[in-house]
Symmetry: C2
Subunit: 233 residues, 2 copies
Amino acid sequence: MSRAVVLLSGGLDSYTAAAVAQRDGFLLSALSINYGQRHARELDASRAVAAALGVERHLELALDLSQIGGSSLTSSAIDVPKDSTFAKATADKPMVIPNTYVPARNTIFLSMALGWAEVLEAADIVIGVNALDYSGYPDCRPEFIQAFEHLARLATRAGVEGRPLTIHTPLISLSKADIIRLGLSLGLDYGLTHSCYDPPPSGRPCGRCDSCLLRAAGFAEAGATDPLIGAAD
Amino acid sequence: MSRAVVLLSGGLDSYTAAAVAQRDGFLLSALSINYGQRHARELDASRAVAAALGVERHLELALDLSQIGGSSLTSSAIDVPKDSTFAKATADKPMVIPNTYVPARNTIFLSMALGWAEVLEAADIVIGVNALDYSGYPDCRPEFIQAFEHLARLATRAGVEGRPLTIHTPLISLSKADIIRLGLSLGLDYGLTHSCYDPPPSGRPCGRCDSCLLRAAGFAEAGATDPLIGAAD
């Protein structure tokens, strides 16, 4: 079996991406990042998900991006948007980037995964990015992933020695409903996951941030019940 | 004045690169990384250097790469090489990578600098990489830097909005002696810096690791006295 590093946030996308990689025969080492995120409770979910998947290793690295700020997810001075209507890209403005964008986050996370992959002699990284449902994050696009693969080849001992890295993005062109259908078909328990960007003290999903809204719309379109919401009743 | 983020390790290369950027008109924000390095005392030097340069800000971020290991600089289980003879690249083996190579380090550090630059609305990053004297690190090569610039354009809000990032590598084709001559001509005090990879408890340079050997050879070739060594007499 080939070993792969999977970036595991504790959300439903990364859980599904990891499960797809396992189905495809990879032995997983999971990496979660405590980056000073407002929703740090997703790290608890990442541990539950890693245990459910039965990954070989689960490493948590800390890098406090709240020292940099610049995003509603890493700065308490910026409010998380609520009740968004998800303005679509237009010809004039091809991408509308919300304030939940964390500057360079996926570049930083993929770099960490790259370093760990090199030490583990893994030639594969799995990331649950998705470009379709929510096109507002520049670092979720296929062209970004391709550029990172190219960079990785130049950056590492593995690349120099002819063992190039492949980044797997099994969800990149799926809708949220497709992702949920796929995960349910693989038997995943989405009750283990956490998606809310701005959880109230109760820890229940706020139900109004972009992440909650996209998750709810996905479950609705998939004709499924979200166990996180079901459990609240 | 344009603002730039400079990666400042506390060594003589990054000090010189920062001073060149200041000479060229940049207002500097300095970023140092506590990455679990064996020679963490270089962080003290980075503070002294930042103060001497009079940078606008000095940010220190912590990311413990010793959790990943895989390098003599981040794993106590791997010895730092001593008394190297610096095997040159050959046609068969174009690059000889020493065990002081830290997997993906410059990719990780540039990613952090990229995130901070975006928040500061800085379009420039300065890094003191050098490809000539010591060609063993894949992530010090011009092609790596170019690939990172390309990635940054795709990864960020700034890139999407037409403010591409430039990475400045003023030392990339200089010899260590050239770097030292340049820094001395700018009035730099290299007594503030730290280069040794494996400092003994005294904190004095070991004099035998690759970094000490290259520094000594550079001062000798430049016909200058290293104030760190001079001070030991």
